[in-house]
């Protein structure tokens, strides 16, 4: 190792895009626009890639929120050639950003996968995404004569994107989570070390490999550098995808995308496994560190606003009903506990309220937490508990047969 680790082995002949439109800077999904905007594919060794990612502060954009470099570094350099998987399966109904990325910048995702694969001397490269999202990727493969990456169709289920479910699906099994006793980076697809990165993470990796960590950090904040894709939706408007500087506070995001914060009663942050924040909590920065004090996470970059006239308990009950139906029905506490919790919540939301319901919902939430082979019960419990907290006064109102939203 030299002390000159920050030097990038190959620099593109173009400068990194200025401003905060980065992932979509090519303006169009074709290979010519991509090359004109970003220059040639760089080559990077394993150590310089890990180093550059670590300096960049890029965190995973799939939801779990590991830092990108730690995941790459946890692939053992023990001579076994690893497998790298680009995960574009967006089971989360509130997320549209991976689809937007694969449609508008497929070459950047392909670049990221190729760079990660080459720097780790991977044996196999895979890309896993829903059928509609594979179409632009297939077009992109044709344009560049790419034949090394294998494509896999992800089903449209909530848990199909969970990392062990991805590996199971790629190996020809069912797209449902497996029990984890080892890390995938130790033993994943066919026992090989397996790195599963979200497609957005790989797209950022492709840019960082070209333009460096200092460029990446030139927007965003110190603890939350760079840009990220978010999917913003509200119960009145459909989902829209934006690329924003990381670390903007939620109110700034709402204002800059034309949402009036005054009309927002609460926001579900992080998706269906996420956390409800009240209007007073929306000055929190949208980053891992910024959201931690209010008990929320960025998840896959999801913000759903709840309008003043809508009932947060009803919205939560509907989501819990959906999530209960998305259990892979492998684990007893999840299979039994989630439908039970959802139905108790529906009673609370839809007028069959008895004073014991909030306690019973909390008890069930605690009972399922930590007792599945994947995080589905934990995430579902988190949503239920956060609704009881964020809408505490409305819970009281419902127990008296009223609803704050309808008053």
């Amino acid at each position: 190792m030299t002390s000159d680790q920050s030097t990038i082995s190959v620099r593109g002949h173009v400068a990194g895009p200025a401003g905060t439109t980065r992932l979509f800077a090519a303006g169009s999904g074709d290979y010519g626009s991509h090359q004109a905007a970003f220059g040639p594919l760089p080559a990077m060794g394993r150590a310089p890639l890990i180093d550059e990612l670590s300096r960049s502060g890029l965190d995973g954009r799939g939801g779990a929120g590991f830092t990108a470099w730690q995941k790459v570094a946890s692939v053992p350099a023990d001579g076994r050639r690893p497998v790298v998987v680009a995960n574009g399966a967006e089971g989360e109904p509130l997320s549209k950003k991976d689809a937007a990325l694969l449609h508008n910048a497929p070459h950047l995702v392909i670049d990221g996968l190729l760079i990660a694969g080459q720097s780790l001397d991977a044996k196999e490269l895979h890309l896993y995404a829903g059928a509609e999202q594979l179409a632009p990727v297939i077009r992109a493969f044709k344009e560049r004569g790419e034949a090394r990456i294998r494509l896999h169709e992800a089903p449209d289920t909530f848990i199909s994107g969970e990392a062990t479910a991805v590996v199971s699906a790629i190996s020809g099994g069912l797209p449902i989570p497996r029990d984890r006793t080892k890390r995938l980076t130790d033993s994943g697809l066919n026992g090989r070390p397996t790195l599963v990165h979200n497609v957005e993470t790989l797209a950022h990796l492709a840019l960082i490999s070209r333009f460096g960590s200092a460029w990446f950090r030139s927007v965003g904040t110190g603890s939350a550098p760079g840009t990220r894709l978010i999917t913003l939706s509200g119960n009145t408007a459909g989902a829209r995808v934006y690329e924003i500087p990381t670390g903007l506070c939620l109110t700034e995001i709402l204002v800059s995308t034309g949402v009036d914060p005054q009309a927002v009663r609460a926001a579900l942050v992080g998706g269906y496994h996420g956390t409800w924040l009240t209007a007073e909590q929306l000055d929190a920065p949208f980053s891992r560190e910024g959201l931690a004090p209010v008990g929320a996470r960025t998840g896959a970059g999801i913000i759903m606003t709840l309008g003043s006239g809508s009932c947060g308990l009803a919205a939560t009950a509907d989501i819990l009903g959906y999530l209960a139906g998305q259990s892979a029905r492998q684990c007893g506490p999840c299979t039994n506990g989630l439908p039970n919790m959802a139905s108790q919540f529906a009673r609370l939301a839809y007028g069959d309220a008895s004073g014991r319901l909030p306690q019973e919902i909390s008890r069930l939430a605690a009972l399922v937490t930590g007792r599945g082979s994947c995080a589905h019960p934990d995430g579902t419990a988190r949503l239920a508990l956060s609704a009881l907290m964020a809408f505490a006064s409305d819970v009281e109102a419902h127990l008296r047969g009223r609803c704050e939203a309808l008053q």
Binding site: Q330, G332, P333, N336, T369, G370, R371, G372
Partner: protein, 74 residues
């Protein structure tokens, strides 16, 4: 056995295999209780910490679990 530290033995429950008839709960009543549906509940979720005096009982549970859902790890 190492003499550096008391090894922490944990019992991992593979929930995808467990069918919840509760044999392990009978063998380890100090550590496990039954949930509403008959599945084992213990502190630690899927990783139940096993104190030294219960290691033999835990080994029995692992050996006797009809679905091989349990595994001991140090």
């Amino acid at each position: 056995m190492t003499d550096r530290k008391v090894p922490r033995t944990t019992m991992h429950i593979d929930w995808t295999r467990c069918d919840g008839r509760g044999l392990c709960i009978e063998l380890l009543p100090e550590l496990l209780t039954r949930d509403d549906w008959g599945y084992p509940v213990g502190r630690g979720g899927s990783e139940i910490l096993i104190p030294e005096n219960l290691e033999y009982a835990a080994q029995d549970a692992v050996a006797l679990c009809p679905t091989q859902a349990l595994r001991l790890r140090k």
